[in-house]
Symmetry: C2
Subunit: 493 residues, 2 copies
């Protein structure tokens, strides 16, 4: 056995344990009896300890220093790059800090939920300050020996190779045109929405059929109900969840197509990479590009919604809309609202850009937690034209910051930008895509994505993954052009 084989064997075992952790999370959200929470907490902690210890195991350092990368093929070099990055980051974090972060962020989630329910920012502020202080301390540790600023240092966990400065340039170009587009839409007549109630068993049947439409492989996955939709797992066992609301079938349909995008990325990665660092989606941004292109550019397209309109009428009878054109407009309505997760293609990125700017200031030390609500509200009014009415509709709405997820939010918008680029390249390669989509056949699109992007998993760096698939450097332009054309069509300006 060479050092590289030993390293890969150890890594494979760590990844298998990580897959178990993912399944335990899935179980908690779908199957776990209510009374098992305390015991489950101890189970998580025990497995987390095992994983944490393995990530900074000194043998990793020995193997890494004894391997000559130039003796390896390209795939092995890519494996090594992932392992080295993970190890070098892991050993920078003192055990004391890791333990404190785990403890404080776990407590913070409960306090945040209370504060949000009571609309009481002061209740969460002291805990929030602790979370930020610990994450800044972590950022300072991770920053050592790199040219990252504090926010960049955290951001690397979600989007390796990306930087706040690059994103700032991209988002700076995105924001004014989105604000302008939003203004135009709000000045136009709103299309009609669905009416009626929608049987939940029929929603599940339709949703399951749509997952198959989009290429989800049920032999290596399953769909269950959960409070929040999510996709979980890699390789041979990639499960998704959905929820149903009798008033709003689009919630189940589009959250499922979104999660199917995530899941198909994982399912379509080269099987040779199973349980290796290359065997999962390469970054949050690239992952989001897949979920978003499935959900939006394909799922909310004029062609596919024509197919879906027929499916909806077959399932539910009269849905209060009598043309495919009207249905397309109903799917794509842009309505005022405070909540990111309830947002649409146009406003979603404005929600994210707001968080991106504020969290860079927070982690950079330029914005105190005490000043956050005012900064949030001012920015919201500037971009959305309305005042935030309460803190649960403002800076306490998302769980991310309370549990310490700084550096994560912008990957959502980066994913949308990447989806815009991929969509442009896809349409150029497959000009008659709509003739398939209108029949509910997504295969020409999903096969293109599998071939040009998904199969490679972590082989290339995130941005290079997109460049390889598109054949050009990603910019915000394709997304903007797509959105402006689409919504001008729907809203008639």
């Amino acid at each position: 056995m060479s050092a590289f084989d030993d390293l890969m064997g150890f890594t494979r075992e760590t990844r298998a344990l990580g897959a178990i952790m993912g399944r335990l999370n899935w179980d908690q959200e779908t199957m776990m009896p209510k009374g098992a929470a305390e015991q489950r907490g101890e189970e998580f902690e025990a497995l987390e300890n095992v994983l944490h210890t393995r990530k900074s195991d000194p043998r990793l350092g020995d193997w890494l220093s004894s391997i000559d990368p130039s003796s390896l093929d390209a795939v092995s070099q890519a494996q090594l790059r992932h392992i080295r990055r993970s190890y070098e980051r892991a050993v920078k974090i003192p055990a004391r800090l890791a333990a404190e972060l785990a403890k404080v962020t776990s407590m913070a989630q409960g306090v945040w939920a209370e504060a949000r329910a009571r609309d009481d920012f002061a209740h969460f502020a002291p805990m929030f300050e602790q979370v930020v202080a610990l994450r800044r301390e972590e950022a300072a540790a991770l920053q050592q020996g790199t040219d990252h600023d504090l926010w960049d240092a955290l951001h690397q966990d979600y989007e390796p190779g990306s930087s706040g400065a690059e994103l700032d340039a991209m988002f700076g170009a995105l924001r004014p045109r989105l604000v302008a587009l939003r203004d135009k839409i709000m000045g136009a007549d709103q299309p009609k929405g669905l009416t009626g109630t929608f049987d939940e068993a029929k929603q599940m049947a339709l949703t399951t059929a749509l997952a198959a439409n989009f290429g989800y492989d049920f032999a290596r996955g399953r769909i269950d109900k959960a409070v929040h939709p999510f996709s979980s797992g890699s390789g041979q066992d990639v499960r998704i969840t959905t929820r149903t609301n009798p008033e709003d079938p689009f919630n189940s349909i589009y959250s499922t197509i979104h999660e199917v995008g995530h899941a198909c990325y994982e399912q379509n990665i080269n099987g040779d990479y199973l349980l290796t660092p290359l065997g999962e989606g390469v970054s949050m941004g690239v992952h989001e590009s897949q979920s978003r292109i499935y959900e939006n550019q394909l799922g909310r397209s004029r062609a596919f919604t024509e197919y879906l309109f027929g499916q909806m009428r077959d399932s539910f009878g009269d849905i209060g809309i009598d043309s495919a054109e009207g249905f397309y407009a109903a799917v794509n309505r842009v309505l005022p609202g405070y909540i990111r997760t309830e947002s649409d293609e146009v406003q979603y990125n404005l929600h994210v850009l707001l968080r991106f700017d504020l969290e860079r200031q927070i982690i950079g030390g330029d914005l105190e937690i005490a000043d956050l609500p005012a900064a949030w509200d001012a920015r919201f009014e500037a971009d959305f034209g309305v005042k935030v009415d309460k803190i649960s509709n403002g800076c306490l709405q998302d769980v991310h910051w309370p549990v310490g997820l700084f550096g994560y939010f912008p990957t959502y918008s980066l994913g949308n930008v990447y989806a815009g680029c991929l969509h442009q390249a896809l349409r150029a390669d497959v000009p008659d895509l709509d003739s398939a989509l209108v029949k509910g056949d997504t295969a020409p699109a999903t096969a293109w994505l599998a071939e040009h992007l998904q199969q490679f998993g972590g082989l290339r760096e995130p941005r290079d993954t997109i460049v390889h698939a598109c054949g050009f450097e990603p910019t915000e332009a394709p997304l903007l052009e797509y959105l402006e054309a689409k919504f001008a069509g729907i809203y008639g300006f």
Copy 2:
């Protein structure tokens, strides 16, 4: 922190990881997508490696040697006893042997399944010999420093403190009276069985209601379908599975009540013992006493079957039987058959005793694998009065030996003997039990079992657990008297 606290902390973490392993097994049998088998194999192996390493971790030896048991209270002493026994056994097994056993028994399962399907003993014999040789080697290692014979050494994993010689005396008294009882029954008229087909959804509804009747706590458990019924987990998360057969509702009903017995034992253990060695059923034999008393002495009693008769008619209408007396006889029919798992209260122990005698000879080195089929068939004919027609109805019927489970089988009959003793003590303490059972109310019985036995978990040694509950030394007499009286009544002799 004292050495005892450190030891308990480490042990608690190991047990939490063990609970995850149990849940992973449950998932494989109930939820796992078909295509995930290969990946799941690696996940099991990774977690098994972690658990194996922890069981013989040298820190355990250090802590154990630095703790003075006399400084501890009785509960802590019991914890220590379990931990010491587990550690002392773990360090006796060389890593090479453990790895070989894991590999060979895993391969053997597949080869056995082929051999059984083809009725070809020779196909499995070479692998069978390897399994036996490795388990004998393990037994020789475990035997060191004890007065156990080879079979006893293996048996300790399932029934600590029990021995082949004691069981031999007990089973020697059991066998002739069971053979005689079986003969009498086969000479009598058979009662009528159920007729009709039984809707599977209604079976699940009835089965779920029966689980609640027997005190199963759904807030800390759940019931799902699986190919084989089983109970899984301890403490706050104890799940059971069942199966339905449209021709045979008793299969689902009685396998569920059986698993509920196992599950209630786990659920009713003192909550202070959660994730400690005392926090699970103390042995296979004591566990089986709970499943069997729920299933047989309670579930197949004249009083409870009267309640069940009403439930069956409410669920399914005409079931081909029109009296509670006739239904009681149908539930308890004794029919000829080769297969242990399809057997009844009378013949079940004869199946087990056959295996007990043969496996002691195999592990003792007194019976060659080549001679096993002939030995099996001769014994079967002696006890059951019929010749075995094919090897899949003979010594290849069970998976236990092929995967190396020697020393396990007799715990089934020991459990039945213990159930007989517990039933005698229960009836003495709760003389009007039947007046509750006839209304479907098992609470007087299950509360008695929880109070006298289940709550204590691993506090006392297995046999002492029974003595404490019954107030007398266990023997085979109560079981025999119960069976002879019950079946004389049903078959009219």
